[in-house]
């Protein structure tokens, strides 16, 4: 064997062994591969989920948006509430939570089983949180083991009963008892049930990686949305409404740095429906621009939004600078200045 072939053989051995080890890890590690932005734990969500949305809390907290608007009165951050929460549970959401995923079937009216479920990834002091729940909610909270996992039940047996459980060291699940138990079962048995929903997983794969917030919804969710809306300028006397073309799917992604940017891609039935929907959105933007005489910020706001169609897809993109957002928010109280390294 020549020297070069020996090198090729050695290299192939390293790659082959590495691939085998990786396959072993994939098979043995209960945290199976994730889909799109979803953490692997969220694959235990029910297969009939119609929408999933998520927030990257780390990125949110580090963003200029949070520094500017989150910490003001009424903003996202609540220093006193967070301090109190940390004292009781050891959990500081700004520091300890990495990601929040909310999923559901989009029809809470049909019963608690249809309501949303929340999966929070981060670092938790489970003992302290458990103690806080048990002491704080005395009387209304009970707990039991489900598939070996401790589950805290709130108002057990009553309408709207909820549950909370840690499905592993880093993951907290909240929602209705039935939904939480279904997630625990799927997780313990290693069933990536959400992967059975090919439509939704395909949409999840389309979410731009690294997005601070995102949302996907499939046809069954969007079918429940209103199909018409009042036409601009119409009133109860005049009547008149605009028919909204039905959407087959919706993918929304957004980032907070260096500006607030959002992109929504809706898939319509066909090209004509997509153009129709794009025209409706453009019409509303034009109307908003007409108001620019009274409020000049509106002009900047509407010019930051663009609408485009690509066959049966409508893409609405918006990019708002923080100066623009601040100008729309004049009553803002003094806030903590952004840290110098905030991007």
């Amino acid at each position: 064997m020549t020297r070069s072939r020996l090198v090729v053989l050695a290299s192939s051995l390293v790659v082959g062994l590495g691939s085998l080890a990786a396959m072993g890890a994939l098979y043995l590690d209960p945290a199976r591969a994730a889909v799109g932005p979803l953490p692997s734990e969220a694959l235990a969500l029910p297969a009939d989920t119609t929408f999933v949305m998520g927030f990257d809390v780390k990125r949110l907290v580090q963003s200029e948006f949070y520094q500017r608007f989150g910490k003001e009165k009424g903003g996202l951050a609540r220093p006193e509430a967070f301090a109190e929460l940390e004292e009781k549970t050891g959990l500081n959401p700004e520091r300890d939570v990495d990601q929040v995923v909310v999923a559901g079937k989009g029809d809470a009216a049909k019963g608690p089983g249809e309501a949303g479920i929340v999966i929070v990834s981060g670092r938790f002091d489970q003992y302290k949180i458990g103690r806080a729940i048990e002491t704080d909610k005395k009387g209304s909270v009970t707990w039991k083991k489900h598939e070996g996992v401790t589950e805290y039940l709130f108002n057990e047996g009553k309408k709207g009963a909820g549950a909370l459980a840690f499905i592993d060291d880093d993951t907290l699940v909240m929602g209705s008892q039935a939904a939480v138990e279904a997630v625990i079962t799927a997780r313990v048995q290693g069933q990536p049930r959400l992967k059975a929903n090919a439509g939704l997983t395909a949409l999840l794969e389309r979410v731009k990686p690294g997005s601070t917030f995102w949302m996907v919804g499939d046809q069954s969710l969007l079918a429940k949305l209103p199909t018409e809306m009042p036409a601009p300028g119409s009133g109860p006397a005049t009547g008149g409404s605009i028919q909204l073309p039905a959407l087959q799917s919706l993918v929304v992604t957004g980032d907070l740095d260096p500006a607030l940017s959002v992109e929504a891609i809706g898939e319509a039935r066909d090209e004509a429906a997509a153009k129709n929907l794009a025209d409706i959105v453009r019409g509303f933007l034009a109307l908003a621009q007409l108001q620019a005489g009274q409020k000049p910020e509106l002009k900047e706001l509407t010019s930051a939004v663009s609408v485009a169609t690509d066959t049966n897809k409508v893409r609405v993109s918006a990019r708002f600078s923080y100066q623009l957002l601040a100008s729309l928010h004049p009553k803002r109280t003094a806030t903590t200045p952004p840290p110098p390294n905030a991007r």
Partner: protein, 268 residues
């Protein structure tokens, strides 16, 4: 007994050229330089395990580091450079060393020479690059224990695939430069570090670069400063495969066509 009036069968000739080229390629100064470049991420991973892992905040995961290494070091720099150094020299080195005559006067098809050489280039570069990628991955991902490693395994395989595709597409392009130009390295460097930066501009211009298709195929999106951070576009995977496949076919087809017809005049 072979009929000497006919050229050596295509595959036999290509295999002979492959063996000859591979031996020269693996044991060369180029490979030494590439080995040094490729050792850097492995050294970083060792440093991370030994020192940095205790000092880095827990929210910065080893997978973040691995993502940076793959997206910024491998896909953007080392893979195109490896392709430039090896593929542009496939024919240019034979011309410069005046050994092309010995190849062209053999009873073999010119296409078999190019196919053999290009196959040797792919094997040599994959031999150097894939093990370092795998070793870097395991060194980094196991630094904080084995928990959660399964979720990142698909990314390793995806990265290995994209690395191979990068070598193929850049290799085809630089092989074309190699048969077109006498000194392809400077235009190649300009292509990589001037033209490929267009990938960071808004609009349709990025679609005229190779890197935008390759970076769209990996999942790692390290935050970047400045204009590239603003406009980094991610294209659909199907489009990327279609465009890259078409480009490989066009580049290799043109390379074969030019090499089969070109008359090489050696400097005396």
């Amino acid at each position: 007994m072979r009929d000497t009036s006919k050229p050596v069968p295509f595959l036999n000739a290509a295999r002979s050229v492959f063996d000859l080229t591979l031996e020269g390629m693996v044991w060369s100064r180029r490979s030494l330089l590439m080995a040094i470049l490729l050792a850097l991420p492995v050294l970083f991973a060792v440093l991370y395990r030994a020192v940095l892992v205790a000092k880095v905040p827990p929210e910065v995961t080893p997978f973040d580091f691995y993502g940076y290494i793959v997206a910024l070091y491998y896909v953007r720099n080392v893979l195109p450079l490896a392709a430039l150094f090896y593929a542009s020299a496939l024919i240019a080195d034979e011309v410069e060393g005046k050994t092309i005559t010995y190849l062209l006067t053999r009873p073999i098809l010119r296409a078999s020479i190019l196919v053999g050489k290009f196959a040797a280039y792919m094997v040599a570069t994959l031999t150097l690059i894939l093990p370092t990628l795998v070793v870097t991955y395991f060194l980094l991902m196991t630094a904080r224990g084995l928990t959660g490693i399964g979720a990142t395994v698909p990314d390793l395989f995806k990265d290995m695939g994209v690395a191979s595709l990068s070598l193929l597409v850049y290799g085809a392009f630089f092989a074309l430069l190699g048969v077109l130009l006498k000194r392809p390295v400077i235009p190649g460097v300009l292509f990589l570090y001037v033209w490929e930066l267009v990938a960071n501009l808004p609009g349709y211009l990025p679609r005229f670069t190779l890197t935008v298709y390759l970076r769209s195929l990996i999942s790692h999106r390290p935050a970047q400063e400045g204009i590239s951070g603003l406009f980094g576009e991610v294209l659909p995977a199907a489009l990327c495969f279609e465009v890259l496949g078409a480009l490989v076919a066009v580049f290799l087809g043109l390379t074969l066509w030019i090499f089969s017809r070109r008359e090489f005049v050696l400097e005396q």
